[in-house]
Symmetry: C2
Subunit: 416 residues, 2 copies
């Protein structure tokens, strides 16, 4: 066995103990970990300072340095997040179906942990704690493989989490960090089908695509979002302008931000009259089709083909006039990523058609796509937003980190 | 685009129409197909006769020829199966969660089709109809890739199914058959991530393992079953004997058949006194540990290491004495495949421990593992028995062929 296989086998063994640990014990670990994150913050900060120094020497950009950096306030927020996870209901053991068959067999389908989750992520050390806390609460052991830039920070905080497990009488290996952070270790993780029940990549589109393409462990694909706002002829145009502004500008870097607006031709000019003052306030660059460029003049440059599929992650908006719902639906089918799509309309029948026909994790009528989020949906937390259709779709909370098991109570039944 | 990509793209396009087709229209297709299977049975039988003749020339074994062969009775049973699927409730549109958030957003999580299912299977032409019927009822288009031995039968029956679709006003491409049956076409299907939402291999362990290992399309792994019956010291030994006999002998070739019995040492001799007359009636070969060989003498040969992991699929039973629940649970964790496991006991606390600690799709107390089946569990039908933990675990019926979608009704909400 390789070093990583040995480590993964230990995590798998620990997962069997964790899977049957009660709610109180899991919560005790989480609350102790939250306290220790504050009490032992100097250890975490010192390791983080070393990571930051190395990253600066290596020439890391300021934006990435900021994502890597910890301070007392960020650590307090991370600890508070762990306390919130402890306060959530335990998903394990819940009854999904309960049936007595004609032959007297009593079938109870219960929610159970998945087992071991592998998480491959990039340079944000808070992910180490967020992911571990959610996995633990759902009864899953977790094998974490963060980026090399954060390795010292991740080792320090993993030690804190493992101490909390030990203190509560659970195996430290319920949380383990892969120490090798070269590409080979990620590739090797993707082959650990004997030990990992699911692999969840968290990070940029490149990371997620490469893991989805290469992994033999089942993957949950998260995060890619080319989201549209479709403004129909019957829309309240002021509402549409406010929703587009929120969807594009409230946080352009996230996956539920809008990248493209589609507008019914008859209201295109009136809509942009309402929307432009808002978009101008953030200097949003518009890339439109020819018709829209005619209407908006120099305020809009002509979009390239690539712009219709781009996740800009920035104050850039693709914009296109459409002849009506047929064209809008076909365009979304061709260019959407199945994340979040919205229609702004006062036509209830058209709204239902849009809800039915758009193939995405979340489809909105008269609201911003920015709500696609575990907290906003009331799940209490999320480990990511699934854009695939198997297992979980949309924000993944604790229930989505579980599997099920059929427990069958008999009195000697045999099959004919 | 390759020929297969072009075909898959057409199936994907058809799936968008099928996904929003109503229950009545889907049932009309199924009932028309059931009628046509009977009315046009001569077409199907003629094609099947040609397949059988070619297979005989190629030297196919009798058991496989029997699986390939159709007759009027088998066709009637296939048609009746399609009528039963039509009679099942439509899973699409069911409300999974319904929440109004404090900001007034109304969230409805609805069950929706997965989209396009790919099925890779072997020489049984009835699978073509069974799989297509279940997929259609759940609103999924299906791309079928059967074995080369059944290609004429599959082409004939696919034509019948496609005619039923056309007659009901749905695209024929909701059901499509891959005409190339060489290995390359299966390998190419596993890469069609743009068109297939899930891939379900149906057949022997070799097929399932190779698809699971190679596919980039998400796979549902089905079927591998090394199932145990654990007979405890407190068991009703006559009940235990009847259950073991049923689990081993009622249909040894299927995945929910038992392959291994574990017996608490103090009752091993008494248990086999009760079980041997039943096992003898089917000439079951016993492969035991040394202790059991001592007890049973020449009736039992010593098991090899490989026997503890074997899916015999035959009248062969591995048998082992254990010191108690700890050893039994550890043995099942080491050698089980996560399919179906049973304990025979009169100790309710031990039964609960077994239900909690055994990590399998179905765990039984005092009943035969043979019940792990969509019909027996009341799902009405099944497309397979999932032994993985993501998406679906255990028998997969219509609900398990679905995904979900969040439909969000707003009145202008934007995110702070």
């Amino acid at each position: 066995m390789t070093k990583l296989e040995t480590q993964a086998a230990a995590v798998k063994a620990a997962s069997r103990v964790l899977a049957v640990a009660g709610t109180e014990r899991k919560n005790a670990v989480l609350l102790a970990a939250a306290d220790a994150l504050t009490e032992r913050r100097d250890e975490w900060l010192a390791a983080n300072a070393a990571d930051l120094a190395a990253a600066r020497t290596a020439g890391m950009r300021d934006a990435l340095l900021d994502r890597l950096a910890l301070d007392e306030k960020r650590i307090a927020a991370v600890a508070e997040g762990v306390r919130q996870v402890a306060a959530l209901p335990d998903p394990v053991g819940a009854v999904v179906r309960d049936v007595v068959r004609p032959n007297g067999l009593h079938l109870v389908q219960r929610r159970v942990p998945l087992g071991v989750a592998g998480i491959i992520y990039e340079a944000r050390p808070n992910v180490t704690v967020d992911a571990a806390a959610l996995c633990l609460k759902a009864g899953n052991a977790v094998l974490l493989r963060g980026g090399k830039e954060a390795i010292r920070s991740n080792l320090a905080v993993t030690a804190i989490l493992r101490d909390a497990l030990t203190a509560a009488g659970l195996p430290a290996d319920c949380v383990a960090l892969v120490e090798d952070t070269d590409r080979r270790s990620a590739a090797e993780m993707m082959e650990l089908t004997d030990y990992l029940d699911v692999l969840i990549p968290r990070g940029g589109a490149g990371l997620i695509r490469s893991v989805t393409a290469a992994s033999r462990v089942p993957v949950i694909r998260t995060g890619e979002g080319v989201c549209h706002i479709y403004v129909t002829a019957s829309a309240d145009l002021d509402m549409a302008a406010r929703i587009l502004y929120n969807a594009k500008c409230s946080r352009p870097s996230v996956c539920n931000a809008a990248e493209c607006v589609l507008v019914d031709k008859p209201v295109a000019e009136a809509f942009f009259n309402a929307a432009l003052p808002l978009l101008d306030s953030k200097h949003v660059e518009l890339r439109g089709d020819a018709k829209l460029c005619n209407i908006l003049g120099t305020r809009c440059r002509e979009a390239s083909e690539a712009d219709w599929d781009a996740e800009f992650g920035d104050y850039i908006l693709a914009a296109k006039t459409v002849s009506g719902p047929d064209e809008a639906l076909a365009f979304i089918a061709a260019h959407g990523t199945g994340h979040s799509e919205a229609i702004i309309t006062s036509d209830a029948a058209l709204a239902e058609r849009f809800l039915n026909e758009v193939d995405a994790a979340a489809v909105y009528v008269n609201a911003s796509t920015r709500f696609t989020d575990g907290f906003e949906f009331g799940l209490g937390a999320e480990i990511g937003i699934s854009t695939q259709k198997l297992h979980a779709r949309g924000p993944m909370g604790l229930e989505e980190l579980c599997s099920t098991k059929w427990c069958v109570y008999g009195t000697g039944q045999v099959r004919e």
